[in-house]
Symmetry: C3
Amino acid sequence: MAILTLLTDFGTDDYYVGAVKGTVLRLAPGSLLVDLSHDLPAGDVEGASFLLAAAAPSFAAGTVHLAVVDPGVGSERRILVAAARSQLWVAPDNGLLTPLLDDARVWAVERRDLFLDAPGSTFHGRDRFAPVAAFLLRGGDPAELGGAVEAPVRLQLAPPRRSAHRLVGRVAHVDRFGNLVTDIPAAWLGARRHETRIGAHSTRRTAGYYAELAPGEAAVIPGSLGTLELSLNGEDLARRWGVGRGDRVEVALEGEGPRQKL
Amino acid sequence: MAILTLLTDFGTDDYYVGAVKGTVLRLAPGSLLVDLSHDLPAGDVEGASFLLAAAAPSFAAGTVHLAVVDPGVGSERRILVAAARSQLWVAPDNGLLTPLLDDARVWAVERRDLFLDAPGSTFHGRDRFAPVAAFLLRGGDPAELGGAVEAPVRLQLAPPRRSAHRLVGRVAHVDRFGNLVTDIPAAWLGARRHETRIGAHSTRRTAGYYAELAPGEAAVIPGSLGTLELSLNGEDLARRWGVGRGDRVEVALEGEGPRQKL
Amino acid sequence: MAILTLLTDFGTDDYYVGAVKGTVLRLAPGSLLVDLSHDLPAGDVEGASFLLAAAAPSFAAGTVHLAVVDPGVGSERRILVAAARSQLWVAPDNGLLTPLLDDARVWAVERRDLFLDAPGSTFHGRDRFAPVAAFLLRGGDPAELGGAVEAPVRLQLAPPRRSAHRLVGRVAHVDRFGNLVTDIPAAWLGARRHETRIGAHSTRRTAGYYAELAPGEAAVIPGSLGTLELSLNGEDLARRWGVGRGDRVEVALEGEGPRQKL
């Protein structure tokens, strides 16, 4: 059974998600739909990009991902289909697919015959994205959808960087528990001593999991995406420190390097 | 595979939705369940009526819709089953099905043998609506459920009206982005010049989609349900203007009528 | 088709639920996933325990329930699998399964070969619980997962008690409508006169359903779980009375006992 994941900023208190699902199931009966989230802040392309890249590796090869966070709906922005990591991806050309573009083949949808003849130009999720996803779920060839795209829009996010004594990155995501997910690979720190700083706050503690920590004790933890996270045990560190997505993270490395165990 | 949509005011942080789904799947195994929404304000029959009518056309013929927003649960209010638009509908007799009643055959469920023998009279979603939906999902004939209903309860909503120089309607829905969805058919305005007013606020701008608009510029946009919407680009117009569902919308038409292009 | 219910405190605005579902579907293709809730307050084991026990009886025999509210993730707390009530249950050993333990066979998962080799120790939902659930959904024998557990962790909740003239219990749950769900069996009250008190508030009214009640009139209602509930009609009693989960409920019985009808 073909699987489609859905990621939008449509919310769950409106008819938008239902209309997209009804359209997909009408055009590709028997598809299995899995919600990633519909609760992204309106227009939060970067947040969508993060969640999609984080969830997708858990899904089987052949999964189709549909992500509609699309402030440019109705305009001439393109609808992209990408083949990457043995999965297919459908999203507006606004940077949402940035994390996988390096290894992707990308096409811009030109098959207007697939689009629904429906009122208005404000609901491409139902009228354009859903039929394109259904085409792929029915086994359609993405190369038949339109021409190859050489330079899709990309989010301009500076990658993390490292030197002998310092790692610098950013808070890539704040989760619902208030954990600060950074973009710094956990392998860069390894077992070295460190002082990790965000704004006026810092910690020298490393932990493997939350329950190790004393109340109020912030720590760096190797996270579930392979990057460093900063966390408290049972408390919201983002709120405690007043930190949000995009804030700079700086890790001062101490000692001789990875061979030194704590 | 038979499809059931679900629309309730049960919220997603309780056991109610799970119990309804478990019951349906126990009594009609293999059904495909699709959530429309469970986040309606408690008892918001009008909101449920709007969302259901808006989402349903996207679903295939044969889909069963179950809508339980039911402040009269446990009382003698009837449970209705309707056949309309090649789909089946199950809801309390409280006006929820109003938008489709003109073209529907409607029955009141009298088959108490279908109801579950469960504690209390406060959870008909699980104990009565779910088994009725399962009966339909198994291919049961709605006419076997009870007698025909001549005068189901209807919401008393004044329809939009038009004259040569004026369109009058109401805000039928405020979506999560703060767009004001009216009940005025977009075809009534066409390409005419206008001044559209809600309370103390007004706009003369027409647009096709959000991204056309300058910051802070409100416009009338042909919406995805075939009616006029009022919107800002990337901002919440409902909040900006202090407008809510039910507010009166008045469109003063200018010029000679539909032949005049803007 | 094997059914898996999911109950977590992961929220619906992150990638966590999607990653769990993707993993289950990758390892046990064709499974039918049903969300109970993902909106529990972070770490609310007692709330999870209540919702799971409340929803599960509606599901068919053979259903697998996966509940991950797990503040001890990463530590040495065990992962339990239980067989009870003709269904299977997967949860951390933190009391979440308390309501069904009296009649359950319970095992602690020791099959580390099932666990995923994934970064970090903070997302056992994806890396350990999901593969264990998939093992069961594929028809695996729970006894092959590890040794029997004699004394799983239990929540310490005093059971309700009764005497000739008094019933005493607690508010076990506040639902989204503000109904106060107690743990006192409705059969203990039957049709007797009573004065039911929570803190400084009380009512002598009994009702069968909400719509019987005049505005502002609180009543005891036999609830959908077989226990007494306290409710207003169309209003939030929990807020009105300032009552929350765990608050003491005292029912003073009047008259001669159950043979006396109101």
